[in-house]
Protein backbone atom coordinates (compact mmCIF):
# COMPACT_ATOMS: atom_id res chain seq x y z
CA UNK A 1 0.00 0.00 0.00
CA UNK A 2 1.53 3.26 -1.07
CA UNK A 3 2.17 5.68 1.72
CA UNK A 4 0.15 8.88 1.73
CA UNK A 5 -0.76 11.13 4.62
CA UNK A 6 -4.34 10.27 3.86
CA UNK A 7 -3.68 6.58 4.38
CA UNK A 8 -1.81 7.27 7.59
CA UNK A 9 -4.61 9.50 8.88
CA UNK A 10 -7.20 6.83 8.05
CA UNK A 11 -5.27 4.12 9.85
CA UNK A 12 -4.87 6.33 12.93
CA UNK A 13 -8.53 7.31 13.03
CA UNK A 14 -9.63 3.70 12.60
CA UNK A 15 -7.15 2.61 15.27
CA UNK A 16 -8.71 5.05 17.72
CA UNK A 17 -12.27 4.00 16.81
CA UNK A 18 -11.52 0.28 17.28
CA UNK A 19 -9.71 1.06 20.52
CA UNK A 20 -13.01 2.26 21.99
CA UNK A 21 -14.48 -1.22 21.49
CA UNK A 22 -11.41 -3.00 22.77
CA UNK A 23 -11.37 -0.62 25.74
CA UNK A 24 -15.02 -1.43 26.44
CA UNK A 25 -14.39 -5.19 26.19
CA UNK A 26 -11.34 -4.85 28.46
CA UNK A 27 -13.18 -2.73 31.02
CA UNK A 28 -14.86 -5.57 32.90
CA UNK A 29 -11.83 -7.80 32.54
CA UNK A 30 -9.75 -5.06 34.10
CA UNK A 31 -12.16 -4.52 36.97
CA UNK A 32 -12.37 -8.23 37.83
CA UNK A 33 -8.60 -8.63 37.54
CA UNK A 34 -7.93 -5.50 39.56
CA UNK A 35 -10.43 -6.12 42.33
CA UNK A 36 -10.98 -9.85 42.59
CA UNK A 37 -7.53 -10.87 41.33
CA UNK A 38 -9.19 -13.21 38.83
CA UNK A 39 -7.92 -13.85 35.31
CA UNK A 40 -11.41 -14.19 33.89
CA UNK A 41 -11.03 -16.53 30.94
CA UNK A 42 -14.82 -16.54 30.45
CA UNK A 43 -14.98 -12.79 29.79
CA UNK A 44 -14.75 -13.25 26.01
CA UNK A 45 -17.48 -15.88 26.16
CA UNK A 46 -19.84 -13.38 27.82
CA UNK A 47 -19.01 -10.95 25.01
CA UNK A 48 -19.97 -13.73 22.57
CA UNK A 49 -23.27 -14.23 24.43
CA UNK A 50 -24.01 -10.51 23.93
CA UNK A 51 -23.37 -10.80 20.20
CA UNK A 52 -25.47 -13.96 19.89
CA UNK A 53 -28.37 -12.30 21.74
CA UNK A 54 -28.06 -9.35 19.33
CA UNK A 55 -28.30 -11.82 16.43
CA UNK A 56 -31.46 -13.41 17.86
CA UNK A 57 -33.03 -10.02 18.63
CA UNK A 58 -32.43 -8.76 15.10
CA UNK A 59 -33.58 -11.98 13.42
CA UNK A 60 -36.55 -12.77 15.67
CA UNK A 61 -37.79 -9.36 16.73
CA UNK A 62 -36.15 -7.10 14.21
CA UNK A 63 -34.82 -4.85 16.92
CA UNK A 64 -31.13 -4.28 17.42
CA UNK A 65 -31.34 -1.66 20.13
CA UNK A 66 -33.55 -3.89 22.27
CA UNK A 67 -30.54 -6.24 22.45
CA UNK A 68 -28.50 -3.45 24.01
CA UNK A 69 -30.88 -3.66 26.99
CA UNK A 70 -31.76 -7.35 27.02
CA UNK A 71 -28.23 -8.79 26.62
CA UNK A 72 -26.64 -6.89 29.53
CA UNK A 73 -29.71 -7.65 31.67
CA UNK A 74 -29.46 -11.39 30.99
CA UNK A 75 -25.68 -11.42 31.52
CA UNK A 76 -26.07 -9.48 34.76
CA UNK A 77 -28.80 -11.81 36.05
CA UNK A 78 -26.83 -14.96 35.24
CA UNK A 79 -23.64 -13.55 36.69
CA UNK A 80 -25.12 -13.36 40.22
CA UNK A 81 -25.44 -17.11 40.84
CA UNK A 82 -22.17 -17.71 38.96
CA UNK A 83 -20.42 -15.27 41.26
CA UNK A 84 -21.90 -16.85 44.37
CA UNK A 85 -21.34 -20.45 43.35
CA UNK A 86 -18.14 -20.35 41.32
CA UNK A 87 -16.19 -17.11 41.52
CA UNK A 88 -16.57 -16.15 45.19
CA UNK A 89 -14.89 -19.31 46.54
CA UNK A 90 -11.82 -18.69 44.38
CA UNK A 91 -11.13 -15.09 45.46
CA UNK A 92 -7.93 -14.65 47.43
CA UNK A 93 -6.56 -18.03 46.40
CA UNK A 94 -3.77 -18.91 43.97
CA UNK A 95 -4.22 -17.27 40.56
CA UNK A 96 -4.41 -20.74 38.97
CA UNK A 97 -7.57 -21.72 40.85
CA UNK A 98 -9.49 -18.78 39.43
CA UNK A 99 -8.04 -19.54 36.04
CA UNK A 100 -9.24 -23.15 36.17
CA UNK A 101 -12.71 -22.10 37.35
CA UNK A 102 -13.16 -19.42 34.69
CA UNK A 103 -11.69 -21.70 31.99
CA UNK A 104 -14.36 -24.19 33.02
CA UNK A 105 -17.00 -21.50 32.56
CA UNK A 106 -15.48 -20.66 29.15
CA UNK A 107 -15.79 -24.30 28.02
CA UNK A 108 -19.36 -24.49 29.32
CA UNK A 109 -20.49 -21.24 27.66
CA UNK A 110 -18.78 -21.97 24.32
CA UNK A 111 -20.20 -25.44 24.08
CA UNK A 112 -23.68 -24.32 25.11
CA UNK A 113 -23.55 -21.60 22.46
CA UNK A 114 -22.55 -24.23 19.89
CA UNK A 115 -25.43 -26.48 20.96
CA UNK A 116 -28.04 -23.71 20.87
CA UNK A 117 -26.82 -21.24 18.25
CA UNK A 118 -24.96 -23.74 16.07
CA UNK A 119 -21.58 -23.68 14.40
CA UNK A 120 -22.66 -21.60 11.44
CA UNK A 121 -21.57 -17.97 11.75
CA UNK A 122 -24.13 -15.19 11.54
CA UNK A 123 -24.23 -11.56 10.61
CA UNK A 124 -26.00 -8.70 12.32
CA UNK A 125 -26.86 -5.91 9.93
CA UNK A 126 -25.85 -2.50 11.32
CA UNK A 127 -28.88 -0.63 12.68
CA UNK A 128 -27.52 2.52 11.05
CA UNK A 129 -26.75 2.10 7.37
CA UNK A 130 -24.55 4.23 5.15
CA UNK A 131 -21.20 5.84 5.62
CA UNK A 132 -19.36 9.11 5.61
CA UNK A 133 -16.73 9.70 2.96
CA UNK A 134 -13.45 10.71 4.42
CA UNK A 135 -9.80 9.94 3.90
CA UNK A 136 -10.37 8.09 0.66
CA UNK A 137 -12.85 5.55 1.96
CA UNK A 138 -16.48 5.46 2.96
CA UNK A 139 -16.35 5.01 6.71
CA UNK A 140 -19.37 3.08 8.00
CA UNK A 141 -21.54 5.47 10.04
CA UNK A 142 -22.44 2.75 12.53
CA UNK A 143 -18.78 2.38 13.50
CA UNK A 144 -18.63 6.04 14.43
CA UNK A 145 -21.90 5.93 16.36
CA UNK A 146 -20.95 2.73 18.19
CA UNK A 147 -17.49 4.11 19.01
CA UNK A 148 -19.10 7.25 20.41
CA UNK A 149 -21.44 5.07 22.49
CA UNK A 150 -18.52 2.97 23.73
CA UNK A 151 -16.61 6.13 24.63
CA UNK A 152 -19.69 7.48 26.44
CA UNK A 153 -19.97 4.23 28.43
CA UNK A 154 -16.28 4.39 29.34
CA UNK A 155 -16.68 8.03 30.49
CA UNK A 156 -19.85 7.16 32.40
CA UNK A 157 -18.02 4.33 34.16
CA UNK A 158 -15.17 6.68 35.00
CA UNK A 159 -17.64 9.21 36.43
CA UNK A 160 -19.32 6.42 38.37
CA UNK A 161 -15.95 5.54 39.91
CA UNK A 162 -15.06 9.14 40.67
CA UNK A 163 -18.29 10.62 41.91
CA UNK A 164 -20.47 7.99 43.55
CA UNK A 165 -20.21 6.33 46.92
CA UNK A 166 -20.08 2.95 45.26
CA UNK A 167 -17.27 4.20 43.02
CA UNK A 168 -15.34 5.30 46.08
CA UNK A 169 -15.89 1.90 47.69
CA UNK A 170 -14.68 0.17 44.53
CA UNK A 171 -11.52 2.28 44.50
CA UNK A 172 -10.98 1.53 48.20
CA UNK A 173 -11.32 -2.22 47.65
CA UNK A 174 -8.98 -2.02 44.66
CA UNK A 175 -6.31 -0.48 46.88
CA UNK A 176 -6.72 -2.76 49.84
CA UNK A 177 -9.66 -5.05 50.54
CA UNK A 178 -8.56 -5.50 54.15
CA UNK A 179 -8.37 -1.78 54.87
CA UNK A 180 -11.63 -1.23 53.02
CA UNK A 181 -13.33 -3.90 55.13
CA UNK A 182 -11.88 -2.40 58.30
CA UNK A 183 -13.28 0.97 57.28
CA UNK A 184 -16.77 -0.47 56.92
CA UNK A 185 -16.88 -0.82 53.14
CA UNK A 186 -19.20 -3.69 52.19
CA UNK A 187 -16.49 -5.56 50.28
CA UNK A 188 -18.74 -8.49 49.45
CA UNK A 189 -21.29 -6.22 47.84
CA UNK A 190 -18.54 -4.41 45.93
CA UNK A 191 -17.30 -7.72 44.54
CA UNK A 192 -20.79 -8.73 43.45
CA UNK A 193 -21.45 -5.36 41.82
CA UNK A 194 -18.17 -5.52 39.93
CA UNK A 195 -18.96 -9.01 38.62
CA UNK A 196 -22.46 -7.96 37.58
CA UNK A 197 -21.21 -4.76 35.93
CA UNK A 198 -18.40 -6.62 34.21
CA UNK A 199 -20.76 -9.23 32.76
CA UNK A 200 -23.26 -6.59 31.67
CA UNK A 201 -20.57 -4.47 30.00
CA UNK A 202 -19.03 -7.48 28.23
CA UNK A 203 -22.45 -8.45 26.87
CA UNK A 204 -23.10 -4.83 25.83
CA UNK A 205 -19.74 -4.75 24.07
CA UNK A 206 -20.77 -7.94 22.27
CA UNK A 207 -23.99 -6.29 21.12
CA UNK A 208 -22.22 -3.14 19.91
CA UNK A 209 -19.47 -5.04 18.07
CA UNK A 210 -21.85 -7.65 16.57
CA UNK A 211 -22.65 -5.57 13.43
CA UNK A 212 -18.93 -5.20 12.73
CA UNK A 213 -17.88 -8.81 13.07
CA UNK A 214 -19.04 -12.37 12.43
CA UNK A 215 -21.20 -13.75 15.21
CA UNK A 216 -20.02 -17.24 16.11
CA UNK A 217 -19.88 -19.47 19.14
CA UNK A 218 -16.10 -19.09 19.38
CA UNK A 219 -15.83 -15.36 18.73
CA UNK A 220 -14.89 -14.64 22.34
CA UNK A 221 -11.63 -16.56 22.11
CA UNK A 222 -9.84 -14.31 19.64
CA UNK A 223 -10.69 -11.15 21.58
CA UNK A 224 -9.34 -12.47 24.88
CA UNK A 225 -5.63 -12.11 24.01
CA UNK A 226 -5.78 -8.44 22.92
CA UNK A 227 -8.09 -7.60 25.85
CA UNK A 228 -5.71 -9.10 28.41
CA UNK A 229 -2.78 -7.35 26.78
CA UNK A 230 -4.32 -3.87 26.96
CA UNK A 231 -5.46 -4.45 30.54
CA UNK A 232 -2.00 -5.31 31.79
CA UNK A 233 -0.09 -2.91 29.58
CA UNK A 234 -2.43 -0.10 30.55
CA UNK A 235 -1.90 -0.90 34.20
CA UNK A 236 -4.13 -3.04 36.35
CA UNK A 237 -7.09 -1.13 37.62
CA UNK A 238 -6.37 1.79 35.33
CA UNK A 239 -9.36 2.50 33.10
CA UNK A 240 -7.58 5.21 31.13
CA UNK A 241 -4.49 3.04 30.79
CA UNK A 242 -6.39 0.21 29.10
CA UNK A 243 -8.00 2.63 26.66
CA UNK A 244 -4.62 4.27 26.00
CA UNK A 245 -3.02 0.87 25.39
CA UNK A 246 -5.89 -0.08 23.06
CA UNK A 247 -5.42 3.15 21.11
CA UNK A 248 -1.69 2.54 20.93
CA UNK A 249 -2.28 -0.99 19.62
CA UNK A 250 -4.83 0.16 17.06
CA UNK A 251 -2.64 2.97 15.75
CA UNK A 252 0.47 0.78 15.69
CA UNK A 253 -1.35 -1.90 13.71
CA UNK A 254 -2.61 0.64 11.21
CA UNK A 255 0.67 2.48 10.79
CA UNK A 256 2.79 -0.67 10.63
CA UNK A 257 0.46 -2.19 8.05
CA UNK A 258 1.44 0.59 5.66
CA UNK A 259 5.07 -0.51 5.76
CA UNK A 260 4.89 -4.22 6.56
CA UNK A 261 2.85 -7.18 5.30
CA UNK A 262 -0.33 -7.29 7.45
CA UNK A 263 0.63 -10.33 9.52
CA UNK A 264 3.95 -8.76 10.47
CA UNK A 265 2.14 -5.50 11.23
CA UNK A 266 -0.23 -7.37 13.54
CA UNK A 267 2.67 -9.11 15.26
CA UNK A 268 4.54 -5.78 15.48
CA UNK A 269 1.54 -4.07 17.06
CA UNK A 270 1.46 -6.53 19.95
CA UNK A 271 5.22 -7.11 20.17
CA UNK A 272 5.53 -3.37 20.70
CA UNK A 273 4.19 -3.92 24.20
CA UNK A 274 7.02 -6.20 25.28
CA UNK A 275 9.57 -3.41 25.83
CA UNK A 276 6.81 -1.35 27.42
CA UNK A 277 6.16 -4.13 29.93
CA UNK A 278 9.89 -4.29 30.64
CA UNK A 279 10.20 -0.55 31.19
CA UNK A 280 6.98 -0.20 33.14
CA UNK A 281 6.25 -3.57 34.76
CA UNK A 282 3.06 -2.19 36.29
CA UNK A 283 1.74 -0.79 33.04
CA UNK A 284 1.64 2.65 31.50
CA UNK A 285 -0.51 4.09 34.25
CA UNK A 286 0.00 1.45 36.89
CA UNK A 287 1.48 2.59 40.14
CA UNK A 288 0.78 -0.32 42.46
CA UNK A 289 3.23 -3.16 42.55
Amino acid sequence: MAFTWQVLAFQIVNGVVWAMFLGLIALGLNAIFGLLGLLNMAHGAVYAIGAVIAWYMVHQLGSFWMAAIVAPAIAAAVSIPIYKLVLRPTIGKDMMIGLVATSGLLFIINDTLLALYGGSPGLVQPPIAGGVRFLGIIYPTYRLVAAALAAAILIAFWLFLKSTAMGLWIRCVAQSPTLAMASGVPVERVYLIIVVLSAALAALAGVLVAPMTTVSHQMGLSILGPAFIVVVVGGLGSLGGAVAAAILMGIARGVLSIYLPPTYAEVGAIALFLPLLLLRPNGIFGARS
Binding site: I97, G98, V100, G104, D111
Partner: protein, 322 residues
Amino acid sequence: MRDTVGLIVSLSILLATCLLATLIGEFWTGVLARCVTWMFLAISFTLAYSYANIPSVAQATVFGAGAYAVIWAAPAIAGNIALMLLASMIAGGAVALVFGLLVLRMSHSGAAIGTIILAVAFSMLGNAAIGLTGGTDGLPLASEAFHLFGIPITAGPNIGMLLLGAVLLAILLAGFWYISGRRIWRIVRAVQQNALRAQVLGYNAVAYRIAIYVISGCIAGLGGGLYALVSRHVAIETIGLSMSLKSILWAAVGGISSIYGGPIGVLAIQLASEVLLRWTVRVDLIIGLMLVAVALWLPQGVMGLRTRNANWISTIKQWRRT
Protein backbone atom coordinates in the same frame (compact mmCIF):
# COMPACT_ATOMS: atom_id res chain seq x y z
CA MET B 1 12.44 -31.38 50.75
CA ARG B 2 11.94 -34.56 48.85
CA ASP B 3 8.36 -35.56 48.13
CA THR B 4 8.87 -39.31 48.16
CA VAL B 5 5.15 -40.07 48.22
CA GLY B 6 4.64 -37.80 45.19
CA LEU B 7 7.40 -39.60 43.33
CA ILE B 8 6.02 -43.02 44.18
CA VAL B 9 2.51 -41.98 43.15
CA SER B 10 3.64 -40.56 39.81
CA LEU B 11 5.98 -43.46 39.03
CA SER B 12 3.24 -45.94 39.95
CA ILE B 13 0.87 -44.18 37.60
CA LEU B 14 3.45 -44.28 34.82
CA LEU B 15 4.08 -47.97 35.45
CA ALA B 16 0.36 -48.69 35.51
CA THR B 17 0.00 -46.76 32.25
CA CYS B 18 2.64 -48.92 30.57
CA LEU B 19 1.25 -52.17 31.94
CA LEU B 20 -2.27 -51.20 30.98
CA ALA B 21 -1.11 -50.35 27.48
CA THR B 22 0.01 -53.93 26.92
CA LEU B 23 -3.47 -55.16 27.83
CA ILE B 24 -5.90 -52.72 26.26
CA GLY B 25 -4.85 -52.73 22.66
CA GLU B 26 -3.21 -50.62 20.02
CA PHE B 27 -5.66 -47.73 20.07
CA TRP B 28 -5.32 -46.99 23.76
CA THR B 29 -1.56 -47.50 23.60
CA GLY B 30 -1.45 -44.67 21.07
CA VAL B 31 -3.64 -42.45 23.24
CA LEU B 32 -1.40 -43.08 26.24
CA ALA B 33 1.81 -42.53 24.23
CA ARG B 34 0.55 -39.11 23.20
CA CYS B 35 -0.52 -38.38 26.80
CA VAL B 36 3.01 -39.13 28.05
CA THR B 37 4.46 -36.52 25.67
CA TRP B 38 2.02 -33.96 27.06
CA MET B 39 3.05 -34.85 30.61
CA PHE B 40 6.41 -33.21 29.90
CA LEU B 41 4.55 -30.07 28.87
CA ALA B 42 2.44 -30.05 32.04
CA ILE B 43 5.53 -30.58 34.22
CA SER B 44 7.38 -27.81 32.42
CA PHE B 45 4.55 -25.40 33.18
CA THR B 46 4.58 -26.36 36.87
CA LEU B 47 8.33 -25.84 36.99
CA ALA B 48 8.09 -22.44 35.31
CA TYR B 49 5.14 -21.32 37.42
CA SER B 50 6.00 -22.71 40.81
CA TYR B 51 9.80 -22.57 40.79
CA ALA B 52 10.86 -19.87 38.30
CA ASN B 53 7.90 -17.65 39.20
CA ILE B 54 7.05 -17.21 35.54
CA PRO B 55 3.38 -17.92 34.78
CA SER B 56 4.28 -18.93 31.25
CA VAL B 57 1.35 -18.92 28.86
CA ALA B 58 3.79 -19.75 26.07
CA GLN B 59 4.87 -23.24 27.16
CA ALA B 60 3.24 -24.77 24.09
CA THR B 61 5.38 -22.48 21.93
CA VAL B 62 8.45 -23.95 23.61
CA PHE B 63 6.97 -27.46 23.23
CA GLY B 64 6.34 -26.69 19.54
CA ALA B 65 9.95 -25.57 19.10
CA GLY B 66 11.05 -29.01 20.28
CA ALA B 67 8.54 -30.71 17.99
CA TYR B 68 9.61 -28.74 14.93
CA ALA B 69 13.28 -29.29 15.80
CA VAL B 70 12.70 -33.04 15.43
CA ILE B 71 10.80 -32.59 12.17
CA TRP B 72 13.60 -30.41 10.77
CA ALA B 73 16.45 -32.52 12.13
CA ALA B 74 15.12 -35.98 11.22
CA PRO B 75 16.38 -36.12 7.60
CA ALA B 76 19.75 -34.59 8.50
CA ILE B 77 20.62 -37.03 11.27
CA ALA B 78 19.26 -40.16 9.65
CA GLY B 79 16.75 -41.16 12.30
CA ASN B 80 19.07 -41.02 15.30
CA ILE B 81 16.47 -40.56 18.05
CA ALA B 82 18.98 -39.62 20.75
CA LEU B 83 20.28 -36.77 18.63
CA MET B 84 16.79 -35.73 17.61
CA LEU B 85 15.64 -35.52 21.22
CA LEU B 86 18.81 -33.64 22.10
CA ALA B 87 17.97 -31.17 19.34
CA SER B 88 14.45 -30.79 20.72
CA MET B 89 15.78 -30.11 24.23
CA ILE B 90 18.23 -27.53 22.92
CA ALA B 91 15.51 -25.88 20.84
CA GLY B 92 13.15 -25.76 23.83
CA GLY B 93 15.88 -24.47 26.13
CA ALA B 94 16.97 -21.81 23.64
CA VAL B 95 13.45 -20.51 23.08
CA ALA B 96 12.86 -20.48 26.84
CA LEU B 97 16.10 -18.56 27.35
CA VAL B 98 14.94 -15.84 24.95
CA PHE B 99 11.45 -15.75 26.47
CA GLY B 100 12.90 -15.76 29.99
CA LEU B 101 15.22 -12.85 29.31
CA LEU B 102 12.29 -10.89 27.90
CA VAL B 103 9.77 -11.50 30.68
CA LEU B 104 11.91 -12.09 33.76
CA ARG B 105 11.91 -8.51 34.96
CA MET B 106 8.21 -8.04 34.42
CA SER B 107 5.64 -8.15 37.20
CA HIS B 108 3.86 -11.49 37.79
CA SER B 109 0.83 -10.55 35.72
CA GLY B 110 3.09 -8.70 33.28
CA ALA B 111 5.04 -11.91 32.68
CA ALA B 112 1.81 -13.82 32.04
CA ILE B 113 0.79 -11.21 29.46
CA GLY B 114 4.33 -11.02 28.09
CA THR B 115 4.20 -14.74 27.37
CA ILE B 116 0.71 -14.39 25.86
CA ILE B 117 2.17 -11.78 23.50
CA LEU B 118 4.99 -14.14 22.56
CA ALA B 119 2.62 -17.08 22.06
CA VAL B 120 0.24 -15.04 19.87
CA ALA B 121 3.12 -13.53 17.88
CA PHE B 122 4.80 -16.88 17.23
CA SER B 123 1.49 -18.48 16.35
CA MET B 124 0.74 -15.76 13.76
CA LEU B 125 4.24 -15.90 12.31
CA GLY B 126 4.19 -19.69 12.23
CA ASN B 127 0.86 -19.63 10.40
CA ALA B 128 2.24 -17.30 7.75
CA ALA B 129 5.72 -18.89 7.41
CA ILE B 130 4.51 -21.94 5.54
CA GLY B 131 7.88 -22.85 4.07
CA LEU B 132 9.26 -23.34 7.54
CA THR B 133 6.34 -24.75 9.51
CA GLY B 134 3.85 -26.03 6.96
CA GLY B 135 1.41 -23.56 8.54
CA THR B 136 -2.02 -24.94 9.40
CA ASP B 137 -1.35 -28.03 7.27
CA GLY B 138 1.77 -28.83 9.27
CA LEU B 139 4.81 -30.87 8.32
CA PRO B 140 5.17 -34.64 8.35
CA LEU B 141 8.03 -36.46 10.05
CA ALA B 142 10.36 -37.78 7.35
CA SER B 143 10.31 -41.57 7.03
CA GLU B 144 13.62 -42.75 8.39
CA ALA B 145 14.96 -45.91 9.97
CA PHE B 146 14.70 -44.55 13.50
CA HIS B 147 17.00 -45.99 16.11
CA LEU B 148 18.06 -45.31 19.66
CA PHE B 149 21.74 -46.11 20.20
CA GLY B 150 21.49 -48.65 17.41
CA ILE B 151 18.24 -50.25 18.62
CA PRO B 152 15.59 -49.88 15.91
CA ILE B 153 12.47 -48.01 17.05
CA THR B 154 9.34 -47.41 15.03
CA ALA B 155 8.03 -43.86 15.29
CA GLY B 156 4.29 -43.55 15.84
CA PRO B 157 1.64 -44.06 18.48
CA ASN B 158 2.95 -47.46 19.58
CA ILE B 159 4.18 -49.29 22.67
CA GLY B 160 7.86 -48.60 21.88
CA MET B 161 7.35 -44.86 21.86
CA LEU B 162 5.15 -45.08 24.97
CA LEU B 163 7.90 -46.92 26.82
CA LEU B 164 10.57 -44.51 25.61
CA GLY B 165 8.50 -41.53 26.79
CA ALA B 166 7.66 -43.21 30.10
CA VAL B 167 11.28 -44.12 30.82
CA LEU B 168 12.50 -40.61 30.06
CA LEU B 169 9.72 -39.17 32.22
CA ALA B 170 10.55 -41.56 35.06
CA ILE B 171 14.22 -40.50 34.88
CA LEU B 172 13.14 -36.87 34.92
CA LEU B 173 10.87 -37.34 37.94
CA ALA B 174 13.47 -39.36 39.84
CA GLY B 175 16.11 -36.77 38.96
CA PHE B 176 13.86 -34.04 40.27
CA TRP B 177 13.28 -36.01 43.48
CA TYR B 178 17.05 -36.34 43.91
CA ILE B 179 17.78 -32.66 43.22
CA SER B 180 14.97 -31.52 45.51
CA GLY B 181 16.85 -32.95 48.47
CA ARG B 182 20.04 -31.08 47.64
CA ARG B 183 21.19 -27.74 48.92
CA ILE B 184 20.89 -26.13 45.53
CA TRP B 185 17.15 -26.80 45.50
CA ARG B 186 16.80 -24.97 48.82
CA ILE B 187 18.30 -21.94 47.11
CA VAL B 188 15.84 -22.32 44.25
CA ARG B 189 13.00 -22.45 46.79
CA ALA B 190 14.42 -19.44 48.61
CA VAL B 191 14.57 -17.47 45.37
CA GLN B 192 11.08 -18.56 44.45
CA GLN B 193 9.62 -17.59 47.80
CA ASN B 194 11.35 -14.24 48.08
CA ALA B 195 13.77 -13.23 45.34
CA LEU B 196 14.77 -10.03 47.10
CA ARG B 197 15.66 -11.80 50.33
CA ALA B 198 17.70 -14.39 48.41
CA GLN B 199 19.45 -11.60 46.56
CA VAL B 200 20.37 -9.94 49.86
CA LEU B 201 21.74 -13.26 51.07
CA GLY B 202 24.11 -13.20 48.10
CA TYR B 203 22.36 -15.46 45.62
CA ASN B 204 21.92 -14.34 42.05
CA ALA B 205 18.13 -14.63 41.95
CA VAL B 206 17.86 -13.71 38.28
CA ALA B 207 20.32 -16.41 37.25
CA TYR B 208 18.49 -19.04 39.29
CA ARG B 209 15.11 -18.11 37.85
CA ILE B 210 16.45 -18.07 34.30
CA ALA B 211 18.17 -21.40 34.83
CA ILE B 212 14.98 -23.02 36.10
CA TYR B 213 12.97 -21.54 33.26
CA VAL B 214 15.49 -22.80 30.70
CA ILE B 215 15.31 -26.26 32.28
CA SER B 216 11.53 -26.10 32.06
CA GLY B 217 12.04 -25.16 28.40
CA CYS B 218 14.29 -28.19 27.83
CA ILE B 219 11.62 -30.41 29.39
CA ALA B 220 8.87 -28.91 27.22
CA GLY B 221 11.16 -29.20 24.19
CA LEU B 222 11.84 -32.86 24.97
CA GLY B 223 8.10 -33.46 25.26
CA GLY B 224 7.64 -31.72 21.92
CA GLY B 225 10.31 -33.91 20.35
CA LEU B 226 8.60 -37.05 21.62
CA TYR B 227 5.25 -35.68 20.44
CA ALA B 228 6.67 -35.26 16.92
CA LEU B 229 7.93 -38.85 16.99
CA VAL B 230 4.60 -40.19 18.25
CA SER B 231 2.36 -38.06 16.00
CA ARG B 232 4.70 -38.06 12.99
CA HIS B 233 3.06 -34.79 11.98
CA VAL B 234 3.33 -31.34 13.56
CA ALA B 235 0.90 -28.55 12.71
CA ILE B 236 1.11 -24.98 13.87
CA GLU B 237 -1.89 -25.38 16.21
CA THR B 238 0.45 -27.45 18.42
CA ILE B 239 2.20 -24.24 19.45
CA GLY B 240 -0.95 -22.14 19.80
CA LEU B 241 -2.30 -20.32 22.80
CA SER B 242 -5.06 -22.87 23.36
CA MET B 243 -2.46 -25.65 23.66
CA SER B 244 -0.66 -23.56 26.31
CA LEU B 245 -3.95 -23.09 28.09
CA LYS B 246 -4.44 -26.87 28.04
CA SER B 247 -1.02 -27.34 29.65
CA ILE B 248 -1.99 -24.94 32.43
CA LEU B 249 -5.23 -26.81 33.05
CA TRP B 250 -3.42 -30.18 33.15
CA ALA B 251 -0.92 -28.79 35.65
CA ALA B 252 -3.65 -27.21 37.76
CA VAL B 253 -5.86 -30.29 37.81
CA GLY B 254 -2.89 -32.45 38.80
CA GLY B 255 -1.81 -29.93 41.42
CA ILE B 256 0.15 -26.83 40.56
CA SER B 257 2.35 -26.94 43.63
CA SER B 258 3.72 -30.40 42.84
CA ILE B 259 5.74 -31.39 39.84
CA TYR B 260 4.36 -34.90 40.23
CA GLY B 261 0.82 -33.64 39.59
CA GLY B 262 1.23 -32.89 35.88
CA PRO B 263 1.06 -36.52 34.70
CA ILE B 264 -2.11 -37.08 36.72
CA GLY B 265 -3.72 -33.93 35.31
CA VAL B 266 -2.97 -35.00 31.73
CA LEU B 267 -4.44 -38.45 32.26
CA ALA B 268 -7.51 -37.14 34.11
CA ILE B 269 -8.48 -34.63 31.44
CA GLN B 270 -7.41 -36.48 28.30
CA LEU B 271 -8.78 -39.86 29.26
CA ALA B 272 -12.03 -38.25 30.42
CA SER B 273 -12.30 -36.50 27.02
CA GLU B 274 -11.51 -39.71 25.17
CA VAL B 275 -14.10 -41.72 27.07
CA LEU B 276 -16.74 -38.97 26.87
CA LEU B 277 -16.28 -38.67 23.10
CA ARG B 278 -17.72 -42.17 22.84
CA TRP B 279 -21.17 -41.17 23.89
CA THR B 280 -21.53 -37.44 23.53
CA VAL B 281 -20.45 -34.50 21.42
CA ARG B 282 -20.81 -32.21 24.44
CA VAL B 283 -17.35 -33.12 25.75
CA ASP B 284 -16.29 -29.52 26.30
CA LEU B 285 -19.40 -28.85 28.37
CA ILE B 286 -18.63 -31.78 30.67
CA ILE B 287 -14.89 -30.94 30.84
CA GLY B 288 -15.92 -27.38 31.73
CA LEU B 289 -18.09 -28.64 34.59
CA MET B 290 -15.21 -30.86 35.69
CA LEU B 291 -12.83 -27.89 35.78
CA VAL B 292 -15.26 -25.83 37.83
CA ALA B 293 -15.64 -28.76 40.22
CA VAL B 294 -11.86 -29.08 40.53
CA ALA B 295 -11.49 -25.36 41.27
CA LEU B 296 -14.20 -25.52 43.94
CA TRP B 297 -13.56 -28.81 45.65
CA LEU B 298 -10.02 -29.70 44.70
CA PRO B 299 -8.27 -26.34 44.54
CA GLN B 300 -4.85 -27.87 45.13
CA GLY B 301 -5.47 -30.38 42.35
CA VAL B 302 -5.32 -34.13 42.70
CA MET B 303 -1.97 -33.97 44.51
CA GLY B 304 -3.64 -31.70 47.07
CA LEU B 305 -5.73 -34.67 48.15
CA ARG B 306 -2.67 -35.99 49.98
CA THR B 307 -2.38 -33.00 52.29
CA ARG B 308 -6.11 -33.04 52.76
CA ASN B 309 -5.99 -36.72 53.68
CA ALA B 310 -2.95 -36.12 55.88
CA ASN B 311 -4.90 -33.42 57.74
CA TRP B 312 -7.83 -35.75 58.05
CA ILE B 313 -5.65 -38.58 59.38
CA SER B 314 -3.93 -36.31 61.90
CA THR B 315 -7.33 -35.06 63.07
CA ILE B 316 -8.44 -38.64 63.67
CA LYS B 317 -5.18 -39.40 65.47
CA GLN B 318 -5.62 -36.37 67.72
CA TRP B 319 -9.22 -37.31 68.40
CA ARG B 320 -8.18 -40.85 69.36
CA ARG B 321 -5.49 -39.47 71.69
CA THR B 322 -8.05 -37.33 73.46
